[in-house]
Symmetry: C2
Subunit: 218 residues, 2 copies
DNA sequence: CTCTCTTACGGATTTCGTAAACATT
DNA sequence: AATGTTTACGAAATCCGTAAGAGAG
């Protein structure tokens, strides 16, 4: 095999046609090839994956569990390859067609408006969604959105582009009735109730870390 | 080109390595090939796509707008190919690792529980989300979820499996104080306020169609 | 001058068609 | 028997390395 995956797009195309058509002869006709080539292609695919995808000991051919799993993945891969190919053919990269932005609710008013204006100058359509930043990471990685404004830089994914747009200090908010002097947080936390973000959110973790730092020196 | 896309997975791998490494020599080293092969592979890719991806008239090499677009798609395709390949290598299709289900809120209690029990018998982890059925279609197609329970059968996508699980009659709910006889809807709608689903939702459209049928005979 | 990319050429590999043998119903 | 799949074999296309030429800085 000339790549590290055990399959290439051509092999996926053949496999899908066999499954859709129910037999190799039909697949061959649809793809403009001989049935023999189809058979060889499938045999190679199964050898490279080291997995049986179809059960040829019965007619009509039956798909195995592994084959059904692979078929689903293959459809998705081919669909994406197809749309990518079409986008390249069209060849319009100067102006995007539809830019989808996701940001946390709290930033929608502060950053949302100027960003929307900037995006509007370069695109025809755009849309904006809000929600939890963790969802947005997923959405960006699955290409459901194009831009996220997030406290999570997703550093594990080198293919993303990042731009620092905002830096905020942590603020301690106290009741007006509070008169004492604030030098350390430790006694304050014992004295007053403390409202903070949930510990499983990214911002919550950073606050906890910050508190620990101020309390213990690290 | 032996497939209809203008590229194969190998070519994407080469292209990404050139972009990541910044030059062909580094890419060649990383891929265990000669720099010459890299050059040819890229040249072929550009020829097949009929698009210039990199600007070689400057050092270091610069990526074009089309190239940046293609790079993003290529990363996604390769990432999916990689995870698919790994899943096939592991070869465990008898028990899924994590099944994600999405259904409309109104069905969560009625169907959710028995479905969850059934899924639990065949999987290790599972999760369930609710929301609008239109979102669920998208989520299924982008493989963010594995199962949806929906009124939209997504008939445009032959690669999906469908199972009819529930059939509900349309109900007309009237105030207790209403005493007249109901034979036709037409006079009733003029007489009373009518609460229905929004017209842009799928269920709303079906209700409208049903009303029109009952009123006009079609 | 140095580093990097392109091009010409040829061998190795892969892909695909023909034709005949083999399998399933 | 009819329909459909595998296998052997060879031609064509593709991939990739060597080596020499071309271009950028």
């Amino acid at each position: 095999m000339h790549n590290s995956f055990g399959f290439d797009l051509r092999a996926l195309e053949v496999f899908i046609q066999i499954v859709d058509g129910g037999n190799m002869t039909a697949a061959a006709e649809r793809l403009g090839m001989t049935q023999s080539s189809i058979s060889q292609s499938l045999a190679n695919l199964e050898k490279n994956l080291d997995t049986q995808l179809l059960d040829r000991s019965v007619r009509p051919i039956e798909i195995t569990r592994a084959g059904r799993f692979f078929y689903d993945k293959a459809c998705q891969l081919l669909q994406e390859a197809r749309t990518t190919s079409q986008a390249m053919q069209k060849g319009r990269f100067d102006k995007l067609r539809h830019v989808r932005i996701a940001l946390v609710d709290s930033l929608a008013t502060a950053v949302g408006k100027p960003l929307a204006d900037a995006v509007k100058r370069h695109t025809e359509q755009w849309s904006m969604t809000t929600g939890l930043s963790h969802m947005h990471g997923e959405a960006l990685l699955s290409r459901t959105v194009d831009i996220i404004i997030s406290d999570d830089a997703l550093m594990d994914y080198p293919e993303l582009s990042r731009f620092r747009i905002l830096r905020e200090p942590f603020m301690l908010v106290l009741p007006k009735s509070f008169t004492g002097e604030v030098k350390q947080l430790e006694p304050l936390i014992k004295q007053l109730d403390f409202v903070r973000y949930p510990a499983h959110s990214l911002i919550g973790q950073r606050i906890e870390r910050n508190l620990r730092y101020r309390r213990t020196g690290w």
